[in-house]
Symmetry: C2
Subunit: 309 residues, 2 copies
């Protein structure tokens, strides 16, 4: 196979220094941004968290699609070289539309997660949990079965998991600690465990050997989920696989940031409380979030209007 890395080198030098855009309904997409930052330490990232309108999960797909189009328009106005929809609900609702509207490549989190699950399942029985919007869209089932028609997919909406993550983050408000690796012990509370058991036991009975976390908030619940379903069921988060897709896409186009560049991380949000966004976000991103920018819904609406005119 011929490598395309060397091509477009004239224009790609400018493009390569642009940031990668990532957005989510809140701080959950920072699990994806974190994997990108870990895997590609020279890449700058512009993150957008639509905290004011979080959660997206219970909203109609058409509304979520509009939100995705607005944020995509706002992020491309700031110039980005690639966009990651770091939110399963927004991917299910808006990926195709945003791909058609934008000039830069747009990567969602559903296909990478589906692909990882297909590779992992030996029993060819896969469970998927996510928001109501994601599960109702059937996007995971479709993506998994288009890769392996012989796989049986069991999917279940677990809307309260998003609330649990948000609440759990507030319980132990300790920025800069590695919450992903250790502090998730906070989720081992009886009330949380009971909700999780109600959600997960039926899936366990379906004899799945692989469970896809179809929401970017859920990696923060891995210790809790794993304690209930047992360690013999593999847990797939899209974040790692998505970061790999980002890396390969940039490498193949010759648009990766140069090895000597220092990454710049920028954060914007619709959250009314910038301090809370930064504190919670820092825990999830695993790096300090400073100087987050406040963006109003009107600015998002205007970005989309400007793009359409």
């Amino acid at each position: 196979m011929q490598d395309t890395n060397e091509k477009h080198s004239g224009s790609s030098r400018d493009i390569s220094s642009l940031p990668i855009g990532v957005f989510d309904s809140g701080v959950g997409g920072l699990t994806v941004a974190r994997e990108i930052a870990n895997k590609l330490p020279h890449e700058s990232i512009s993150y957008f968290g639509d905290t004011l309108r979080c959660p997206y999960g219970p909203r109609p797909l058409t509304e979520v699609r509009t939100f995705a189009r607005q944020i995509s328009a706002w992020l491309t106005e700031q110039r980005i070289k690639l966009l990651v929809i770091g939110c399963n609900s927004a991917t299910a609702a808006g990926l195709e539309t945003v791909q058609r509207e934008l000039d830069v490549p747009v990567i969602g989190v559903i296909e990478p997660g589906a692909r990882a699950a297909v590779k992992a399942t030996a029993a060819r029985r896969v469970g998927v949990i996510g928001t109501v919007a994601t599960i109702d869209s059937g996007a995971y089932t479709k993506a998994i079965r288009s890769l392996d028609a012989g796989i049986t997919v069991f999917s279940s909406a677990t809307p309260r998991f998003v609330e649990m993550v948000e609440e759990g983050l507030r319980l132990d408000h300790n920025p800069f600690e590695d919450i992903m690796a250790q502090a998730s012990a906070i989720y081992i509370r009886p009330a949380f465990q009971e909700i999780a058991r109600d959600y997960l036991n039926p899936l366990k009975r379906c004899q799945i050997d692989t469970l896809v976390l179809g929401c970017t908030h859920f990696p923060l619940l891995t210790p809790l989920i794993s304690s209930i379903i047992g360690s013999e069921i593999g847990i797939i988060s899209s974040a790692e696989e998505t970061a790999r897709d980002v890396a390969e896409t940039l490498a193949r186009r010759g648009q990766a940031a140069p090895d000597n560049s220092n990454p710049i991380y920028r954060f914007a949000t619709t959250a009314s409380d910038l301090g809370e966004f930064s504190a919670l976000g820092s825990m999830v991103f695993g790096r300090p979030i400073k100087d987050a920018q406040r963006v109003s819904i009107e600015q998002l609406e205007k970005a989309l209007q400007d793009k359409e005119n």
Copy 2:
């Protein structure tokens, strides 16, 4: 993300020593087997080339699907741990059916090639060439646009390319030489060039920046194709990407062959001339093919019947 490598270690020790099955209408799929052998030097491979019924390209999809089911049944009778449909026409016609019928994972060559193209195209204009069966199925267009709805796909059937490869291989009958890297110069013949120009110039005018070789025979034509479309258009062969999918699938399931195992390569074919199959196949596989086994159409039909009963 939790790794599943450690799981199923009880039963996977037996499974891990089984070969990977690969089949094609002829010797073209050996470009895929070759990539797998290069990437996974400890894995055994059982290759099946349906040379007697080659080419699949001009045949109806339903007929090709039956061929794919027969060969899959025969290969699984010999025990394999994973099946690669190393033929685009057979992937388009039979992947889903075979995935539903088999207990082992089945990987086709279309989705990996589509994925590589999506990552490579900066202009988001992709060309696809292949057999009539593959192009008419629309499988590449569907696979590419399901990954990036913003990509425009230009596809064109190039049936005479398969004949050119088969004839070209016979022209320079020199086994064990690295035909992929060097000897393809044999294709730079005026008659071949004219055919290639007729096929490729219209695609070039569509301002594609990426061309997918949607037939496993075509990597052998890369020098010729590249000389016509120009080096600024990236050429994608599914072989490398497919081999990577195989590697990841085995690794995630803990079914990779142990590092100390010596690979065994077995070859079976419906070809009436075993010597010719071995000689041409050796060139494409880049390793000597010895003791190829002759399998009759009746044996294939019986394998499918046995599986159905």
